[in-house]
C-alpha cells in the first residue's frame, strides 16, 4: 500500500514538474519597442476618457502586453514595415494594428505602477543603446539578434552574451561593439527592488534591422 502511495506521489510530482516546464516555455514575454512605447500613454488616456474608442486605440498597445510569442513576432513585423516608410508611419500603424483581432487582449491589461516602471526603465535602456549602436550598412536583409544581459542592482552590467546571433557577421559585430561601449545603466539603481529582481536582473535586448534602404 505504501509503495502504491509513493509511486502515485512520484507520478503526481512528475506531472506537476512537466506542466511547470511547459509553463516556463510558454511563458508570455514582455516586449518594449521604440515605436509603441510612446503609444502607451495615449492608450491609457484614451481608455480612461473615451471608452467607446477603445478598439481603435488599443491596437497600439499590442506589443507591450504580455502576449504570446507568435503574436509578438507578428507585431514586430508590422512595426518594421512601418518603420521603413517613416512618412506613412502613423497611417500604417493604424491600419496594420486595426486589422488584428485583439479584443480579448484588452481585459488582460492592467496598468499597474509596476508596469509603468518597467516601461520607464526599458525606454531609458532603449535610448541609451540606440545612441551608441552604430548600425552597419546592411541593406536589404531583415536581421535580428538577441543579447542576454545580467545587471547588478547598482545598474552595472555584470556580463552580456550574444545569445541568438543573426546571420550577418558585421551586424553581430556592431552589437558587440555597442555593448562593450556601455558599462552602467545608472538609472536602474533607482528602481524598485521587486521591479529590478523580476525584470532587470536578467533581460534581453533584441537588435533589429528591417532591411530598410537608409
Amino acid at each position: 500500500m505504501n509503495k502504491i502511495i509513493t509511486s502515485f506521489h512520484t507520478l503526481l510530482l512528475l506531472i506537476i514538474f512537466f506542466s511547470l516546464i511547459f509553463s516556463i516555455f510558454s511563458m508570455p514575454k514582455l516586449k518594449v519597442s521604440k515605436n509603441e512605447s510612446i503609444k502607451i500613454n495615449f492608450y491609457e488616456m484614451s481608455e480612461l476618457s473615451k471608452p467607446s474608442r477603445k478598439i481603435v486605440s488599443n491596437k497600439k498597445v499590442t506589443s507591450i502586453k504580455k502576449n504570446k510569442d507568435s503574436k509578438d513576432s507578428k507585431d514586430s513585423k508590422d512595426s518594421k514595415d512601418s518603420y521603413t516608410n517613416s512618412n506613412n508611419l502613423s497611417d500604417l500603424l493604424n491600419n496594420s494594428f486595426l486589422k488584428k483581432d485583439i479584443k480579448n487582449e484588452i481585459s488582460k491589461i492592467r496598468l499597474t505602477k509596476e508596469r509603468k516602471n518597467i516601461i520607464k526603465f526599458s525606454s531609458i535602456i532603449q535610448n541609451k543603446i540606440s545612441s551608441i549602436w552604430i548600425k552597419p550598412n546592411s541593406l536589404s536583409e531583415t536581421l535580428s539578434a538577441k543579447v542576454l544581459i545580467r545587471l547588478a542592482p547598482s545598474g552595472e552590467i555584470l556580463d552580456f552574451e550574444l545569445e541568438e546571433p543573426s546571420s550577418n557577421k558585421s551586424f553581430n559585430e556592431s552589437i558587440l561593439t555597442a555593448m562593450s561601449k556601455i558599462f552602467f545603466f545608472e538609472e536602474i539603481a533607482g528602481a524598485d527592488r521587486k521591479v529590478f529582481e523580476t525584470n532587470f536582473r536578467n533581460f534581453k535586448l533584441v537588435f533589429k534591422s528591417s532591411g530598410e534602404i537608409r
Binding site: 514582455l30 526599458s122 550598412n137 523580476t198
Partner: protein
C-alpha cells in the same frame, strides 16, 4: 509536505523566467571614428613615406563620408607595433578603430614590405592583421588594397576603393569628352573628344570596354571603345536613333534602344553575331534599359501610360510588369546589386530626385534633396550612389550612402560633369 513546498517555490520563481525583451530598432547617427596612425619606417626610408601612406589610407576611407578620423595632432601616441599599442590611449579620444603599420624596405629596387594592423578599441581586440609587398612607385595602389581590407573588416561590405568612374565632361568651349578616372577623381584619362554630344557610358562587366552614344556623325550612334587599345567600333544598329546601350551581366550582349522610324523600342544586340532581336514593341517610347543582376529581367522606362514610368520585362518569356505607379515621372531605373530593390529618377512637384523602391513594396523613398538630379549609378557593393546634379549652370557629381548618413560631392572638374557610370569590381 516538503515536496509540496518545493513545488510551490518553483512556481513562484517561475516569474523570474519570463525575461523582459527590449527591442532596439534605431541606431546612432554617429559615425565610427578611426585613427590612422602614421606608419613607421625602417632605416633607409623617409619618415614622410610612412606618413603619406597613412594619409592615403585615411583619405580613401573618408571618401564617402562614412567615417570620422582622429586628427594626427590629437593623437597621444604613435605606435607601430602591437606591443606598443595601448587601448586606453584611443578610448579616451573616443576612437572606435585604430590602424597602425610599418614599412620595411626590402631591397634597393624600391620594393617595400608593409605590415598593418586594425584594432577595435571598444572591444579591445585586434581585428585585422596583414602584410603586403609592393613597389615604392605604386604606393597609391598599395593604399587602396589596405583600405579595401580595412573597409571590409569594419563594414562587412566589399571594398570599392580600386573601382573607377566613367563620365562625360562638357567643357566651356563646347567640346564633349568621354573620361574615366579612379573613384577618388585621380588619374583621369580622356577616352574620346568630340564637338558633338556624347551620352550614356556603360562599363563592360570585365571592365575592359565602355559603350557609349556619340553624335559625331550627325545622328545618335553607339560605339564600343576598348580601354587598352583605345580602338572604337560603331554598332551598325541601322536605326534613326540608337541609344542607351547597357552590357548584359555576362558581357556577351547589349540591351539598347533603336528607333527605326520614330518609335524607340528595346532590343538585344549580340556582340558575337552582331544581330539585333526585338524585346519590346509598343508605339510609346520604350527606353533606358538595364539588366537585373541575374540577367533574367530588364527594367526600362516607357510612357505608354501617358507619363514615363518604370516597367520590367522577362527576357525569355517577354512578360512585362509595371513597377512604379506613384508620381508622374519615374525613369531610368537600375537594379541594386542584390536585385531586390531599384533606384531611379523620380519627378516630384517639378523636382527631379534620386529615389529607391523595394520591388516587394509600393513605397518610393526619395534619397536626394536637390532639384535636377539624374543618372544615378551604384557602387558594386550596393552601398553608395553617385549621381549628376547641377549648381548654377554647371553640372557636378554628388553622392549619398544608402544608410542616409552621408552626403558628399566629388571634386569639381573643369567643365560640366554628367552621366557617371561606376565600374564593376576588378575580378568579377
Amino acid at each position: 509536505m516538503k515536496r509540496f513546498f518545493l513545488i510551490l517555490i518553483l512556481i513562484i520563481s517561475n516569474n523570474i523566467f519570463s525575461i523582459l525583451e527590449i527591442e532596439i530598432i534605431k541606431g546612432s547617427d554617429n559615425l565610427s571614428k578611426i585613427a590612422f596612425v602614421p606608419f613607421a619606417v625602417n632605416e633607409g626610408l623617409e619618415l614622410s613615406q610612412g606618413e603619406n601612406l597613412a594619409k592615403l589610407i585615411e583619405s580613401n576611407m573618408l571618401l564617402f563620408g562614412e567615417f570620422e578620423n582622429l586628427d594626427k595632432a590629437e593623437m597621444l601616441a604613435f605606435p607601430s607595433l602591437e606591443e606598443d599599442f595601448f587601448y586606453r590611449d584611443w578610448k579616451i579620444q573616443g576612437v572606435d578603430f585604430s590602424v597602425i603599420g610599418k614599412i620595411n624596405s626590402v631591397n634597393i629596387l624600391g620594393n617595400l614590405n608593409i605590415s598593418y594592423t586594425l584594432f577595435n578599441i571598444n572591444r579591445r581586440i585586434k581585428v585585422l592583421e596583414g602584410e603586403i609587398i609592393g613597389s615604392e612607385n605604386n604606393i597609391d595602389g598599395i593604399a587602396k588594397i589596405i583600405s579595401n581590407r580595412i573597409y571590409e573588416k569594419i563594414t562587412g561590405l566589399k571594398g570599392i576603393f580600386d573601382t573607377k568612374l566613367a563620365y562625360v565632361i562638357n567643357s566651356d568651349s563646347d567640346t564633349y569628352q568621354m573620361c574615366i578616372s579612379d573613384i577618388d577623381g585621380k588619374n583621369e584619362r580622356i577616352l574620346f573628344t568630340s564637338k558633338s554630344p556624347i551620352m550614356s557610358p556603360d562599363w563592360s562587366p570585365d571592365r575592359k570596354k565602355i559603350a557609349y552614344v556619340s553624335f559625331e556623325n550627325g545622328i545618335a550612334e553607339i560605339f564600343i571603345q576598348d580601354l587598352k587599345t583605345g580602338e572604337r567600333d560603331s554598332i551598325q544598329a541601322l536605326g534613326m536613333t540608337n541609344s542607351a546601350p547597357v552590357w548584359s551581366p555576362n558581357g556577351k550582349s547589349l540591351a539598347l534602344v533603336v528607333s527605326f522610324s520614330g518609335n524607340p523600342d528595346i532590343f538585344l544586340y549580340s556582340i558575337a553575331s552582331k544581330s539585333l532581336s526585338r524585346l519590346t514593341n509598343h508605339y510609346a517610347i520604350d527606353t533606358e534599359p538595364s539588366w537585373s543582376p541575374d540577367s533574367k529581367k530588364i527594367i526600362f522606362t516607357s510612357d505608354r501610360s501617358g507619363s514615363p514610368q518604370l516597367y520590367e520585362i522577362n527576357t525569355s518569356s517577354k512578360r512585362q510588369k509595371r513597377l512604379t505607379r506613384d508620381g508622374t515621372y519615374n525613369a531610368r531605373g537600375r537594379y541594386f546589386p542584390d536585385g531586390k530593390s531599384i533606384f531611379f529618377v523620380h519627378g516630384n512637384n517639378g523636382n527631379f530626385q534620386i529615389a529607391t523602391k523595394k520591388l516587394s513594396s509600393r513605397f518610393i523613398q526619395t534619397l536626394t534633396s536637390t532639384s535636377l538630379d539624374e543618372s544615378p549609378t551604384i557602387s558594386p557593393n550596393g552601398n553608395v550612389i553617385i549621381y549628376a546634379t547641377k549648381k548654377g549652370s554647371k553640372g557636378y557629381l554628388g553622392g549619398i550612402t544608402l544608410n542616409g548618413k552621408s552626403r558628399f560631392s566629388l571634386p569639381v572638374k573643369n567643365g560640366s560633369v554628367r552621366e557617371p557610370a561606376w565600374s564593376p569590381l576588378v575580378n568579377k
